[in-house]
Symmetry: none
Subunit: 153 residues, 2 copies
Protein backbone atom coordinates (compact mmCIF):
# COMPACT_ATOMS: atom_id res chain seq x y z
CA UNK A 1 0.00 0.00 0.00
CA UNK A 2 2.96 2.29 -0.59
CA UNK A 3 1.86 5.67 -1.78
CA UNK A 4 2.85 6.32 -5.33
CA UNK A 5 3.51 9.98 -4.64
CA UNK A 6 6.10 9.00 -2.07
CA UNK A 7 7.75 6.63 -4.51
CA UNK A 8 7.95 9.31 -7.15
CA UNK A 9 9.27 11.77 -4.60
CA UNK A 10 12.02 9.38 -3.59
CA UNK A 11 12.85 8.64 -7.21
CA UNK A 12 13.25 12.31 -8.00
CA UNK A 13 15.30 13.03 -4.91
CA UNK A 14 17.63 10.18 -5.75
CA UNK A 15 18.04 11.56 -9.22
CA UNK A 16 18.73 15.01 -7.84
CA UNK A 17 21.42 13.63 -5.58
CA UNK A 18 23.02 11.69 -8.41
CA UNK A 19 22.95 14.74 -10.63
CA UNK A 20 24.37 16.89 -7.86
CA UNK A 21 21.49 19.16 -7.20
CA UNK A 22 19.26 19.32 -10.23
CA UNK A 23 17.24 17.18 -12.59
CA UNK A 24 15.26 17.67 -15.76
CA UNK A 25 12.36 15.41 -16.61
CA UNK A 26 9.52 15.12 -19.06
CA UNK A 27 6.18 14.97 -17.37
CA UNK A 28 4.46 12.43 -19.59
CA UNK A 29 7.48 10.15 -19.73
CA UNK A 30 7.77 10.07 -15.95
CA UNK A 31 4.04 9.52 -15.59
CA UNK A 32 4.09 6.53 -17.90
CA UNK A 33 7.13 5.14 -16.10
CA UNK A 34 5.02 5.05 -12.95
CA UNK A 35 1.72 4.27 -14.66
CA UNK A 36 -0.08 7.33 -13.45
CA UNK A 37 -1.78 10.32 -14.96
CA UNK A 38 0.55 13.17 -15.85
CA UNK A 39 -1.09 15.52 -13.42
CA UNK A 40 0.10 13.37 -10.56
CA UNK A 41 3.58 14.56 -11.37
CA UNK A 42 2.35 18.09 -10.78
CA UNK A 43 0.86 16.95 -7.52
CA UNK A 44 4.12 15.46 -6.33
CA UNK A 45 6.04 18.53 -7.32
CA UNK A 46 3.63 20.97 -5.76
CA UNK A 47 3.49 19.10 -2.48
CA UNK A 48 7.11 17.93 -2.17
CA UNK A 49 9.32 20.26 -4.09
CA UNK A 50 8.15 23.63 -2.89
CA UNK A 51 10.26 26.68 -2.23
CA UNK A 52 9.71 26.24 1.49
CA UNK A 53 11.29 22.84 1.19
CA UNK A 54 14.22 24.28 -0.63
CA UNK A 55 13.57 23.54 -4.29
CA UNK A 56 13.29 25.70 -7.34
CA UNK A 57 11.14 24.43 -10.20
CA UNK A 58 11.04 25.61 -13.80
CA UNK A 59 9.14 24.21 -16.73
CA UNK A 60 8.24 24.71 -20.32
CA UNK A 61 5.30 23.44 -22.37
CA UNK A 62 5.08 22.55 -26.00
CA UNK A 63 7.37 20.43 -28.12
CA UNK A 64 10.52 19.59 -26.21
CA UNK A 65 8.87 20.69 -23.00
CA UNK A 66 10.39 19.77 -19.65
CA UNK A 67 10.26 20.23 -15.92
CA UNK A 68 13.45 21.04 -14.10
CA UNK A 69 13.92 20.82 -10.38
CA UNK A 70 16.86 22.40 -8.62
CA UNK A 71 17.77 22.10 -5.01
CA UNK A 72 18.45 25.46 -3.49
CA UNK A 73 22.04 25.89 -2.50
CA UNK A 74 22.30 25.88 1.26
CA UNK A 75 25.96 26.61 1.62
CA UNK A 76 25.37 29.22 4.25
CA UNK A 77 22.95 27.62 6.63
CA UNK A 78 22.72 30.88 8.51
CA UNK A 79 21.28 32.73 5.56
CA UNK A 80 18.84 29.94 4.89
CA UNK A 81 17.73 29.95 8.49
CA UNK A 82 17.28 33.70 8.49
CA UNK A 83 15.21 33.39 5.38
CA UNK A 84 13.02 30.77 6.99
CA UNK A 85 12.70 32.76 10.19
CA UNK A 86 11.48 35.82 8.37
CA UNK A 87 9.11 33.73 6.32
CA UNK A 88 7.42 32.32 9.40
CA UNK A 89 4.50 34.49 10.34
CA UNK A 90 3.07 35.19 13.75
CA UNK A 91 1.25 31.89 13.84
CA UNK A 92 2.16 28.37 12.79
CA UNK A 93 0.31 25.07 13.07
CA UNK A 94 1.91 21.99 14.54
CA UNK A 95 1.86 20.33 11.17
CA UNK A 96 3.56 23.13 9.28
CA UNK A 97 6.08 23.36 12.05
CA UNK A 98 6.96 19.70 11.70
CA UNK A 99 7.37 20.06 7.97
CA UNK A 100 9.88 22.84 8.53
CA UNK A 101 11.80 20.85 11.11
CA UNK A 102 11.96 17.78 8.88
CA UNK A 103 13.38 19.91 6.12
CA UNK A 104 16.11 21.22 8.36
CA UNK A 105 17.14 17.64 8.95
CA UNK A 106 17.06 16.89 5.23
CA UNK A 107 19.39 19.81 4.64
CA UNK A 108 21.74 18.86 7.42
CA UNK A 109 21.08 22.12 9.15
CA UNK A 110 20.12 20.33 12.32
CA UNK A 111 20.69 16.84 13.63
CA UNK A 112 18.10 14.23 14.39
CA UNK A 113 18.29 14.79 18.13
CA UNK A 114 17.91 18.52 17.62
CA UNK A 115 14.85 17.88 15.48
CA UNK A 116 13.35 15.76 18.24
CA UNK A 117 13.91 18.58 20.69
CA UNK A 118 12.31 21.12 18.40
CA UNK A 119 9.31 18.92 17.71
CA UNK A 120 8.93 18.19 21.39
CA UNK A 121 8.91 21.88 22.20
CA UNK A 122 6.35 22.81 19.57
CA UNK A 123 3.83 20.00 19.76
CA UNK A 124 0.21 20.64 20.56
CA UNK A 125 0.55 18.24 23.43
CA UNK A 126 2.98 20.54 25.15
CA UNK A 127 0.87 23.62 24.60
CA UNK A 128 -2.29 22.20 26.13
CA UNK A 129 -2.25 24.82 28.88
CA UNK A 130 -2.03 27.65 26.38
CA UNK A 131 -5.41 29.08 25.36
CA UNK A 132 -6.26 27.63 22.00
CA UNK A 133 -6.41 30.99 20.25
CA UNK A 134 -2.87 31.72 21.41
CA UNK A 135 -1.39 28.32 20.71
CA UNK A 136 -0.18 28.93 17.18
CA UNK A 137 1.31 32.24 18.23
CA UNK A 138 3.27 30.71 21.06
CA UNK A 139 4.43 27.91 18.79
CA UNK A 140 5.67 30.36 16.18
CA UNK A 141 7.53 32.31 18.84
CA UNK A 142 9.17 29.20 20.24
CA UNK A 143 10.18 27.94 16.83
CA UNK A 144 11.62 31.25 15.73
CA UNK A 145 13.48 31.69 18.97
CA UNK A 146 15.05 28.25 18.68
CA UNK A 147 16.11 28.97 15.12
CA UNK A 148 17.58 32.29 16.13
CA UNK A 149 19.60 30.41 18.69
CA UNK A 150 21.04 28.25 15.95
CA UNK A 151 22.09 31.17 13.77
CA UNK A 152 24.20 32.52 16.59
CA UNK A 153 26.49 29.54 16.42
Amino acid sequence: MARLSDIIETFLKTLINEEEGSVEIQRNELASKFNCVPSQINYVISTRFTTDKGYYVESRRGGGGYISIKRINTESAGDYLMHIITSIGDKISQHTCEVFINNFVDYNIIKYREAMLMKAATSDKVLMDVPIDKRDDVRATILKNMLMGLTVL
Copy 2:
Protein backbone atom coordinates in the same frame (compact mmCIF):
# COMPACT_ATOMS: atom_id res chain seq x y z
CA MET B 1 -14.12 -10.10 30.59
CA ALA B 2 -11.41 -7.54 30.11
CA ARG B 3 -12.35 -4.27 28.56
CA LEU B 4 -11.81 -4.00 24.86
CA SER B 5 -9.41 -1.08 25.21
CA ASP B 6 -7.22 -3.25 27.41
CA ILE B 7 -7.27 -6.05 24.87
CA ILE B 8 -6.25 -3.69 22.10
CA GLU B 9 -3.54 -2.23 24.30
CA THR B 10 -2.13 -5.68 24.99
CA PHE B 11 -2.33 -6.61 21.34
CA LEU B 12 -0.37 -3.54 20.30
CA LYS B 13 2.23 -3.99 22.99
CA THR B 14 2.77 -7.58 21.92
CA LEU B 15 3.23 -6.44 18.36
CA ILE B 16 5.67 -3.78 19.47
CA ASN B 17 7.70 -6.38 21.30
CA GLU B 18 7.73 -8.69 18.32
CA GLU B 19 8.74 -5.87 16.02
CA GLU B 20 11.50 -4.74 18.36
CA GLY B 21 10.12 -1.46 19.49
CA SER B 22 7.84 -0.12 16.84
CA VAL B 23 4.71 -0.95 14.93
CA GLU B 24 2.70 0.55 12.11
CA ILE B 25 -1.02 -0.06 11.84
CA GLN B 26 -4.01 1.08 9.88
CA ARG B 27 -6.73 2.44 12.07
CA ASN B 28 -9.72 1.04 10.23
CA GLU B 29 -8.16 -2.37 9.77
CA LEU B 30 -7.36 -2.69 13.45
CA ALA B 31 -10.82 -1.47 14.38
CA SER B 32 -12.50 -4.07 12.23
CA LYS B 33 -10.22 -6.75 13.64
CA PHE B 34 -11.64 -5.95 17.05
CA ASN B 35 -15.13 -5.07 15.88
CA CYS B 36 -15.10 -1.57 17.22
CA VAL B 37 -15.44 1.92 15.83
CA PRO B 38 -12.23 3.40 14.47
CA SER B 39 -12.18 6.19 16.99
CA GLN B 40 -11.72 3.68 19.75
CA ILE B 41 -8.23 3.13 18.39
CA ASN B 42 -7.60 6.81 18.99
CA TYR B 43 -8.88 6.40 22.50
CA VAL B 44 -6.55 3.52 23.22
CA ILE B 45 -3.58 5.37 21.81
CA SER B 46 -4.30 8.59 23.61
CA THR B 47 -4.78 6.90 26.96
CA ARG B 48 -2.20 4.09 26.77
CA PHE B 49 0.55 5.17 24.44
CA THR B 50 1.32 8.63 25.71
CA THR B 51 4.71 10.27 25.94
CA ASP B 52 4.58 9.97 29.70
CA LYS B 53 4.23 6.24 29.31
CA GLY B 54 7.16 6.12 26.97
CA TYR B 55 5.73 6.01 23.49
CA TYR B 56 6.08 8.19 20.45
CA VAL B 57 3.17 8.24 17.98
CA GLU B 58 3.02 9.50 14.40
CA SER B 59 0.24 9.25 11.84
CA ARG B 60 -0.89 10.23 8.39
CA ARG B 61 -4.36 10.53 6.87
CA GLY B 62 -5.52 9.91 3.34
CA GLY B 63 -4.94 6.98 1.03
CA GLY B 64 -2.35 4.67 2.51
CA GLY B 65 -2.63 6.41 5.84
CA TYR B 66 -1.20 4.81 8.96
CA ILE B 67 -0.51 5.17 12.64
CA SER B 68 2.96 4.33 13.89
CA ILE B 69 3.85 3.75 17.50
CA LYS B 70 7.44 3.68 18.75
CA ARG B 71 8.58 2.69 22.18
CA ILE B 72 11.04 5.07 23.67
CA ASN B 73 14.47 3.65 24.29
CA THR B 74 15.12 3.49 27.99
CA GLU B 75 18.65 2.22 27.89
CA SER B 76 21.85 4.15 28.51
CA ALA B 77 21.36 7.84 29.20
CA GLY B 78 17.66 7.17 28.98
CA ASP B 79 17.49 5.95 32.55
CA TYR B 80 19.19 9.01 33.89
CA LEU B 81 16.97 11.28 31.83
CA MET B 82 13.87 9.46 32.97
CA HIS B 83 14.97 10.02 36.52
CA ILE B 84 15.42 13.73 35.90
CA ILE B 85 12.11 13.96 34.14
CA THR B 86 10.21 12.46 37.01
CA SER B 87 12.03 14.76 39.42
CA ILE B 88 10.81 17.87 37.61
CA GLY B 89 7.52 18.98 39.07
CA ASP B 90 4.53 20.49 37.34
CA LYS B 91 6.02 23.96 37.42
CA ILE B 92 9.48 25.35 36.87
CA SER B 93 10.86 28.87 36.74
CA GLN B 94 13.05 30.09 33.92
CA HIS B 95 15.99 30.33 36.27
CA THR B 96 15.69 26.80 37.64
CA CYS B 97 15.18 25.56 34.13
CA GLU B 98 18.45 27.11 32.99
CA VAL B 99 20.28 25.60 35.92
CA PHE B 100 18.99 22.17 34.90
CA ILE B 101 20.01 22.67 31.29
CA ASN B 102 23.47 23.87 32.22
CA ASN B 103 23.90 20.80 34.35
CA PHE B 104 22.95 18.57 31.45
CA VAL B 105 25.75 20.11 29.44
CA ASP B 106 28.20 19.73 32.32
CA TYR B 107 27.33 16.08 32.60
CA ASN B 108 27.59 15.51 28.86
CA ILE B 109 23.95 14.56 28.58
CA ILE B 110 23.37 17.13 25.88
CA LYS B 111 25.51 19.21 23.57
CA TYR B 112 25.90 22.94 23.53
CA ARG B 113 23.63 23.44 20.54
CA GLU B 114 20.98 21.28 22.14
CA ALA B 115 21.21 23.38 25.26
CA MET B 116 20.72 26.52 23.16
CA LEU B 117 17.58 25.03 21.68
CA MET B 118 16.24 24.04 25.06
CA LYS B 119 16.87 27.44 26.58
CA ALA B 120 15.35 29.15 23.57
CA ALA B 121 12.19 27.08 23.94
CA THR B 122 11.78 27.66 27.66
CA SER B 123 12.63 31.31 28.08
CA ASP B 124 10.13 33.77 29.50
CA LYS B 125 10.52 35.80 26.32
CA VAL B 126 9.02 33.00 24.31
CA LEU B 127 6.15 32.42 26.71
CA MET B 128 4.92 36.02 26.70
CA ASP B 129 1.57 35.04 25.25
CA VAL B 130 0.98 32.41 27.90
CA PRO B 131 -1.05 33.66 30.88
CA ILE B 132 1.39 34.33 33.68
CA ASP B 133 -0.19 31.83 36.05
CA LYS B 134 0.27 29.08 33.46
CA ARG B 135 3.74 30.02 32.34
CA ASP B 136 5.71 27.82 34.70
CA ASP B 137 3.43 24.88 33.92
CA VAL B 138 3.92 25.23 30.20
CA ARG B 139 7.66 25.59 30.69
CA ALA B 140 7.80 22.42 32.76
CA THR B 141 5.80 20.56 30.14
CA ILE B 142 8.05 21.77 27.34
CA LEU B 143 11.20 20.89 29.22
CA LYS B 144 10.00 17.44 30.14
CA ASN B 145 8.76 16.73 26.66
CA MET B 146 12.06 17.77 25.14
CA LEU B 147 13.93 15.48 27.51
CA MET B 148 11.57 12.67 26.62
CA GLY B 149 12.37 13.31 23.00
CA LEU B 150 16.03 12.72 23.73
CA THR B 151 15.36 9.31 25.15
CA VAL B 152 13.80 8.06 21.93
CA LEU B 153 17.25 7.17 20.63
